[in-house]
Symmetry: C2
Subunit: 324 residues, 2 copies
Amino acid sequence: MAAPASTPVGSCKVVLAASIAKKLLEEVHDGLKKVDHKPRLHGFLANSDPAAKMYANWTAKTCQENGFDFTLREVAREDLEDVLREANQDPNVDGILVYYPVFDTTRDRTLQWTVSLYKDVEGLSPQLISNMYQNIRFLDPPANQLKSILPCTPLAVIKILEHLQIYNTFLDYGKRLFGRRITVINRSEVVGRPLAALLANDGAEVFSVDVTGVQRFTRGTGLKKQKHEVEDLEGWQLKDCLLNSDVVISGVPGDSYKVPTELIREGAVCINFSSEKNFSPDVKEKASIYVPAIGKVTIVILLRNLLRIVQNLRENQQRNGESA
Amino acid sequence: MAAPASTPVGSCKVVLAASIAKKLLEEVHDGLKKVDHKPRLHGFLANSDPAAKMYANWTAKTCQENGFDFTLREVAREDLEDVLREANQDPNVDGILVYYPVFDTTRDRTLQWTVSLYKDVEGLSPQLISNMYQNIRFLDPPANQLKSILPCTPLAVIKILEHLQIYNTFLDYGKRLFGRRITVINRSEVVGRPLAALLANDGAEVFSVDVTGVQRFTRGTGLKKQKHEVEDLEGWQLKDCLLNSDVVISGVPGDSYKVPTELIREGAVCINFSSEKNFSPDVKEKASIYVPAIGKVTIVILLRNLLRIVQNLRENQQRNGESA
């Protein structure tokens, strides 16, 4: 694509996900050189949605282009739980990715719980999710050598904020958003809520907004709490959040929603993770940085998670005295 | 001194000026290696205040320790204007520093206007001050090779904010404070007002507070204006400013003034440039970063300005075809 990495529009930098993905991909390639085999991802497709098939093909292409091994396994949905249990035990499978929805009911949650936490590239296993909310960053405390796996889209947003230097590396690790106020529009279990939790765990004051109202996620005065707590902000509306926010992150599905530009503060950083455009074009008149889409970063995070799984495996084997 | 460079107190980093000064001094030392002679600073003392004499001795010591040449010239104050005119012409004088107050009346301004703008290490010459307010960063537009000299204390604060990564280097030069809201308590002509102007010229929204009220310094929506403009915020009080500010910079003389900690927002960056402590010890419960004093950075800026004058001189000589 010929578009430049960042195009200045007035004083707003429009930052394309591709430019951030490129840098993250370099880190992934460096990591790949240090592991003893090509990481093997197995993708499990158990629905007939053409969109899921397309996503599967896209995963395959991205893996192949970047030195990862990908196997697509099409499975009848009633067989999927058994197949996943076998894959958990199969030493030739490093990472597992399930194309959801499968049943499109709460039964899908059972599938998420079936995938081994040591192979879950999407970070949906109960222990991984619990670690994320509890601000526990390793799988093996107190040794803290095996990093826990975070869900791809929330982690993509965090990597974008790091790239944009919204994380202040002058502050200590784990507190680098201290002093930042961030609005997250969307509180889904898949992205919005975990994202709000991760940002608050890193020190931000987060306003989490959805149709039911506004919640604040924070670690309290002076970040004295080890993990975030959540409180309802009765009577608060989106405008109260935006008035106070340095960073606005929106992921509302559907093409009708727009964050009202007039409520966004001067110089805010605006990031859209919806597949639709949640910001109007005139956001560039007000924002200091605008990231219109994040998909290309998310897919790199999937590879990064897979690499981390292989690194954790090697670390674990070395610790147990086996040859790596 | 045995104190560490930054001491964590809860989640607040207390950053001592010495640690920032050290890094800036390294840059100055690197620059010194590339100039053809030891920069020569002449300090003019025309008052009998023991404090001025002490400051002069401190300048001498700092210059000598860091590879600069310092000459103290004690002069009767009625002779000072003539002596400064001679120094302006004297090729053996690179930089001029006058220990104010001399007459302690507006007559001192005539002295400031007498010092050549090409030798003024304090940045008090009318053209330098005009450049600063007008956001003109070079002495020789459009060639833009000779950087204008900025007053030491305001520039020290800016260098501190750069060190703390409050300036976001992901943004373009000249706009790196876009989105930051900063309260400056003190609007003196020597520090507070120039500082507010510099911060706003770099993209911040600045609330400038003194006993007469609150003013806002900004470059307007989307930083569309090339330089800051100032408006009175009728009815605003300190608390309105602090509620909105990521950064609080205070320089109120006298030992009775304290910025009320309860009005400072969670995770704010707090910097004191008063010789007294304008923040209470409990600021560490709320701030993300606290810089209790800046004097050691200011003195390095004086050396940096002197070095810049010598670099500008060389650039000018080379441009005019003379040997450097």
